[in-house]
Symmetry: C2
């Protein structure tokens, strides 16, 4: 399936309101109307309201790649820097976004373990880039198709607005193949 | 210092609005007016707005012990179970609460690493209990007093409303002693 097919299929699964359904009758038009990654962020927010509520944002998605950010605004701790839970959020959601857009909605990612190492306080928004190599994607797809299950890991470097690495994340996901989508 | 002294000192550091300042002029009265742990939760929310915004709640604090919960409401993922980021929140804040109430505001805890292992989905609110043994507290206090720094680790078992363990957490904190409070 193409990326657009995935997005529409995912949207069909996730979005539930009347206005969303109407918009999906003409998904490409709707997509064109929205600037940048508003559609992707709408999807994420429909799946996990926790994400937009805490100012998580997908900034770019392409094959095997996601860039996402979390705002400092609203997420400060009592030192005025970014609260640890916001680090977790920006490190975690990209795994689901990658799985959705690179594997498609038939492959369901389930987070099994996440380790976050906090290196220094962040006094700005924080960005993370994550990649899944084509051979990893192929392996996950093959294993899940054959056995119903697979696994992948994602490592991320979280950077502040000056490009300094403020934290590192390692996430282990399992993938379950859905019988039918 | 007594627990109440710690709370008032902490509140003085944390709370910033006019109404809070007025309330603190008579902290004991204010404390008495508030039922249960509203005061503690107000403190947490003043330090880290992320916590109450995502329905984190301290339920009990006593020497070396904290019990806290996170609501399923508002925190669901697209499977209808608790989103992973909510697990992180309920596993992380208790370390700060324990440090504040057992060590006092002169000892500043800094999260260095957190690992969460997700065992099964939670379809209810999730609760965690965490304890710091008296000898650990003594060691932290002594080391921080002598060197300005110390460290402690906290392990937590996160349980659903039926008492099933849905996740396990291991958090490593460093402690910095403030020059003056």
């Amino acid at each position: 399936m193409s990326l657009m097919d995935h997005m529409v299929a995912a949207a069909s699964n996730w979005l539930e309101t009347d206005s969303d359904s109407k918009a999906l009758a003409r998904p490409v038009n709707w997509f064109r109307q929205k600037s940048g990654y508003a559609f992707v962020n709408r999807l994420v927010g429909s799946a996990i309201p926790f994400a937009p509520r805490n100012r998580f944002r997908v900034e770019e998605v392409k094959a095997g790649y996601v860039r996402a950010s979390i705002a400092l605004k609203g997420n400060k701790n009592h030192f005025g820097s970014l609260y640890a839970g916001a680090y977790f959020l920006v490190a975690e959601i990209p795994g689901g976004v990658l799985a959705l857009f690179d594997l498609g909605p038939a492959y369901v990612p389930i987070l099994k373990e996440m380790t976050l190492e906090f290196l220094q306080p962040a006094n700005s928004d924080v960005t993370v880039e994550m990649t899944l190599a084509p051979d990893v994607l192929d392996t996950v797809r093959l294993e899940a198709d054959e056995t119903g299950r697979a696994a992948f890991s994602l490592e991320g470097a979280l950077t502040d607005s000056e490009g300094q690495v403020v934290a590192r994340s390692v996430a282990h996901y399992r993938v379950r193949k859905r019988a039918a989508v």
